[in-house]
């Protein structure tokens, strides 16, 4: 599979904090999930890869272009779509006008072709009916779709999505999953999220970050397999468990090192994630 993004030794500090600490990775086509607790460095990594912020050290290429030069960065940006964690808008613009504005900023200067592309993208994100509505009058979910439309306009080869489903209700989240899955067809998507279900359902690869470092890189199945034989059921909370909680059936689901004879359960991606974080010395809470 062709490598879209290749990074090695990325480092970035904020004062005394290492936001990125020697991050190396390789991204290929399809959706790659990026999991990690708050402050793990996910957003910083996404911003660096999206060329929104330069790293202190390290190098990376996107679709064969090196953003460490002005020319290379320009080429990367021509092939990139970026949905930030808190997308902002000009609230008096309509959905169409805003995506059109972003399309112009993406150097689409032919008015006819640009308008066709904006209509296509708004159709793709399900906003065709409200494209003439002012953004200030759209719901949070719709605004998020406007931002996704802005990221998708121009058919970028590399799409960076920073927690796109945060704050969305379950129905909107499902709808967004559909959009992301479709966006991942024929392009590389890097999806940062706190939702392990998003990763389980959408991603062919997953990265787990903690403390500015990549702690795991593999498939969702491999991450889940990390918890194989380490999830068990009990009638009381097991004090030896890394994490444990009472389930709807009244029994406790424990994650960690099971006692002898424990009733083992089928692990989930979340269990594998929790154990990976625990191994990385990150705080595990459940």
């Amino acid at each position: 599979m062709t490598t879209t993004v290749s990074a090695s030794g990325l480092c970035l500090r904020y004062g005394g904090t290492r936001a990125l600490d020697d991050v190396s990775l390789r991204l290929t086509g399809g959706v790659t999930g990026l999991l990690g607790p708050n402050g793990a460095g996910k957003t910083t990594l996404l911003r660096v890869l999206a060329t929104a912020r330069p790293a202190d050290r390290g190098a990376f290429t996107v679709l064969g272009h090196d953003p460490a030069t002005a020319r290379g960065r320009q080429e990367v940006r021509r092939r990139l779509g970026y949905l930030p964690q808190t997308p902002g808008f000009h609230p008096d613009f309509t959905a169409f006008e805003f995506v059109d504005y972003v399309a112009i900023l993406k150097e689409m200067t032919d008015r006819g072709a640009r308008h066709r592309e904006v209509r296509r993208v708004l159709d793709e994100v399900g906003l065709a009916d409200v494209r003439g509505k002012r953004i200030r009058k759209l719901s949070g979910g719709m605004r998020q779709r406007v931002a996704l439309g802005a990221a998708l306009v121009g058919d970028p080869g590399f799409l960076v999505l920073d927690e796109p489903t945060v704050g969305l209700d379950p129905e909107q989240r499902m709808r967004f999953r559909e959009l992301i899955a479709r966006a991942g067809e024929g392009r590389t998507v890097l999806l940062s999220t706190h939702q392990t279900e998003d990763v389980a359902m959408l991603c062919h690869r997953v990265l787990v970050m903690a403390g500015g470092r990549v702690r795991f890189e593999g498939t969702p199945a491999e991450l889940t397999a990390r918890a194989e034989g380490r999830v068990w059921s009990s009638t009381e909370r097991d004090p030896g468990a890394k994490a444990g909680w009472r389930t709807g059936t009244g029994t406790f689901r424990n994650v960690g090192e099971p006692p002898a004879g424990a009733e083992l359960l089928e692990p989930t991606l979340e269990d594998g994630y929790l154990l990976t974080l625990d191994g990385a010395g990150a705080e595990v809470s459940a």
Binding site: A52, Q74, R77, G88
Partner: protein
């Protein structure tokens, strides 16, 4: 690039903070108009009132680079210097019209030397936009305007009170140092243009900034 600039003109014009600039402009014109009502003291007060008017309008110009969509458009290929230059160019006719109106509001017999005062006003306006460009360059905030406006106001007050006399900038018309002061205003203007230009460029590598780029 010309095609991109042409296509950007209308949407960029709509993203400008016209209401804030307009409000600051009105406040500035009211201050300039006070020179008509000050009677015999008009001559003495026309210069400080015009300077206050310039400061008021400059406080509106600091909002010029406020952009709620900054993060959404952070990684577009259209270069930041072009976008900043376009915003400045779009507001320039309004600035020229405002300054002309402010000068015309001052009765001709008490009007300070127009060329020198235009230099002061130009330096103040460029400083305001440079402050905004620096805030965009070194922080991640989408609306640096309020912070920069507070900084500009504080700096202006401190400069009037504590600026060293041998480098005086705010001198009355009859002062012997008037010409020298305006040489210094020219230096301030050139420095502000230079710093503004540097701040408008988006660095490829991280050098000294801890905040946004």
């Amino acid at each position: 690039m010309p095609g991109l600039t042409r296509a950007l003109v209308l949407p960029a014009c709509r993203t400008l903070p016209w209401r804030l600039v307009g409000a600051a402009g009105v406040a500035g014109l009211l201050l300039a108009a006070l020179t008509r009502t000050t009677g015999e003291t008009g001559e003495r007060l026309s210069l400080p009132l015009l300077r206050a008017a310039v400061l008021a309008f400059a406080m509106g110009l600091v909002f010029l680079l406020d952009d709620p969509a900054r993060h959404t458009t952070a990684t577009v290929p259209a270069p930041r210097p072009l976008r900043v230059a376009l915003r400045v160019a779009l507001v320039l006719p309004a600035v020229a019209a405002w300054w002309t109106s402010a000068l015309l509001l001052v009765p001709p017999d008490v009007r300070p030397p127009v060329a020198d005062l235009t230099l002061e006003a130009g330096a103040a306006f460029v400083l305001a936009v440079t402050g905004a460009a620096a805030a965009v360059r070194f922080t991640d905030v989408t609306r640096p305007g309020p912070l920069v406006a507070a900084g500009l106001l504080t700096s202006a007050v401190l400069a009037v009170l504590f600026w060293p006399k041998r480098w005086a900038l705010f001198v009355p018309v009859e002062d012997d140092r008037w010409a020298a002061a305006h040489d210094r205003w020219a230096v301030v203007l050139a420095g502000a243009v230079l710093v503004g230009g540097v701040c408008a460029v988006e660095p490829v590598r991280r050098r000294w900034g801890r905040g946004g780029v």
